[in-house]
């Protein structure tokens, strides 16, 4: 059985911050502190649990075609965030940025997927892109709050 990444309930139970997510077990399968970017053509998008999966064909530096697996968030969570499962189709050209696998196999835990038209979609495990945007909004909200709002 290949190493899989994390699932729906993998965030730390205590206080969840983006950095705290490094404690979850995806670190056992992916080098969460590292980042790789691959570009390829989607062969299959599986909108499933415990993780959505994108299979894509990537041509390596030797000109050979390699099928990569990109793992994202739990499909149930993605559905709650408005995903339908039609976001990616075979033949789509995409760029995937995320954490590389620990064992060197062609797998990546995606953080962001960039579509051919430049649109960035999130949906990574634990929703890191959405989380970053949320933190920006919260910082703004915090700046706009009067001190009494926090009391």
């Amino acid at each position: 059985m290949s190493m899989n990444s994390t699932c729906l309930v993998t965030l730390t139970v205590l206080m969840v911050t983006p950095s705290a997510q490094a404690h979850h077990s995806s670190a056992a399968f992916y080098v969460t502190s590292a980042s790789i970017t691959i570009t390829g053509t989607v062969t299959e998008f599986r909108f499933i649990n415990p993780h959505a999966r994108v299979y894509l064909k990537v041509v390596d530096e030797k000109g050979q075609s390699v099928v990569w697996l990109a793992e994202g968030a739990n499909a149930g969570v993605l559905r709650r965030r408005g995903w339908t499962g039609d976001e990616l189709k075979p033949g789509d050209r995409i760029t995937v940025t995320g954490a590389p696998s620990r064992d060197g196999s062609p797998k990546v835990e995606w953080r962001v997927i960039t579509l051919a038209d430049g649109t960035e979609i999130g949906g990574g495990n634990n929703l890191p892109k959405e989380r970053e945007e949320l933190l920006r909004r919260l910082e703004q909200q915090r700046r706009n709050q009067t001190p009494s709002d926090n009391k």
Partner: protein, 274 residues
């Protein structure tokens, strides 16, 4: 005759009291029923509904569940003007460190050893096995609660699990073996729904602090806010073999009446490389 006359006011009083009681009894029932139904409805966490007026900043740092001490600490940090220049993420990390330290002090040596032995690759969720009750209760997808005369239904979107829990004053003593959902009974204390579960199988999860042994008792306490917009869960994990004191976690949900339970996509364990 005189004696009879003397008893007349007393009889009138008793009759009036009986009428009052007969009128008030249904009223008490009605009020009690109203209290109980306050928790009915559809409830979502910050993880699935991040935009809602009930959320405070600290709620966004508690996407699954929090230790009360950590939430309170983050709240204090946010309220202190000395921290205005510090990024939210840094404040969240500070609260998290406090929580980690607290739980580390609570865990028994046996629990620590269990965590060390834990193999994430063998986690039941990764293998698409249904979740343990603790993971089910804490899972961030929405829940729907219905209160009936003699039972409560909690429908968890996570794994599309429907729990039908009998309302009883005391939990049935049972000799049946332990299982992932155990055996549960419900009761009310005022408006608070209390679900107590026993005969739970032990488990160790990917969530860093959670590890329990067979026979763990857990208590869920659900209380709706006065305005009915928020549902607070206090989950107590009572397992002396794992924690020196019961571990208490809190989770907050908001009422989202326009939402509904969605079909969950299928689960497929990965069995090979691409």
């Amino acid at each position: 005759m005189a004696e009879h006359r003397n008893q007349l006011p007393r009889r009138i009083f008793l009759a009036a009291a009986m009428v009052a009681v007969s009128l008030c009894w249904p009223l008490t029932d009605l009020l009690q029923a109203q209290e109980r139904t306050a928790i009915q409805g559809f409830w979502s966490t910050v993880f699935t509904v991040p935009d809602h007026p009930e959320w405070r900043i600290e709620d966004h740092f508690c996407q699954i569940a929090c230790l009360p001490i950590a939430r309170q600490h983050l709240r204090s940090l946010l309220a202190n003007p000395a921290n205005d220049a510090r990024p939210l993420q840094e404040l969240g990390q500070e609260a998290n460190q406090l929580a980690n330290k607290y739980v580390a002090g609570l865990m028994t040596d046996a629990a620590r050893e269990r965590r060390t032995r834990y193999d994430p690759a063998a986690d039941p969720v990764i293998r698409c096995e249904p979740p343990h009750l603790i993971m089910l209760v804490l899972a961030p997808p929405p829940i729907a609660i219905e209160v009936h005369d003699d039972h409560v239904i909690i429908h968890h979107e996570y794994w599309n699990t429907v729990r039908t829990i009998r309302i009883a004053d005391r939990i049935a003593s049972s000799v049946e073996g332990s299982s992932r959902l155990g055996s549960s009974t419900a009761r009310f204390e005022g408006a608070t729904l209390i679900v107590e579960s026993r005969n739970l199988a032990g488990f160790t999860s990917q969530v860093q602090a959670l590890t329990t042994t067979d026979g763990t008792r857990i208590v869920e306490r659900y209380t709706a806010s006065t305005n009915g917009a928020r549902l607070d869960l206090e989950l107590t994990i009572d397992d002396p073999a794992s924690y020196r004191e019961p571990l208490v976690l809190i989770q907050r949900r908001v009422r989202t009446p326009d939402e509904k339970i969605l079909d969950i996509p299928p689960c497929e364990a990965i069995s090979g490389t691409p």
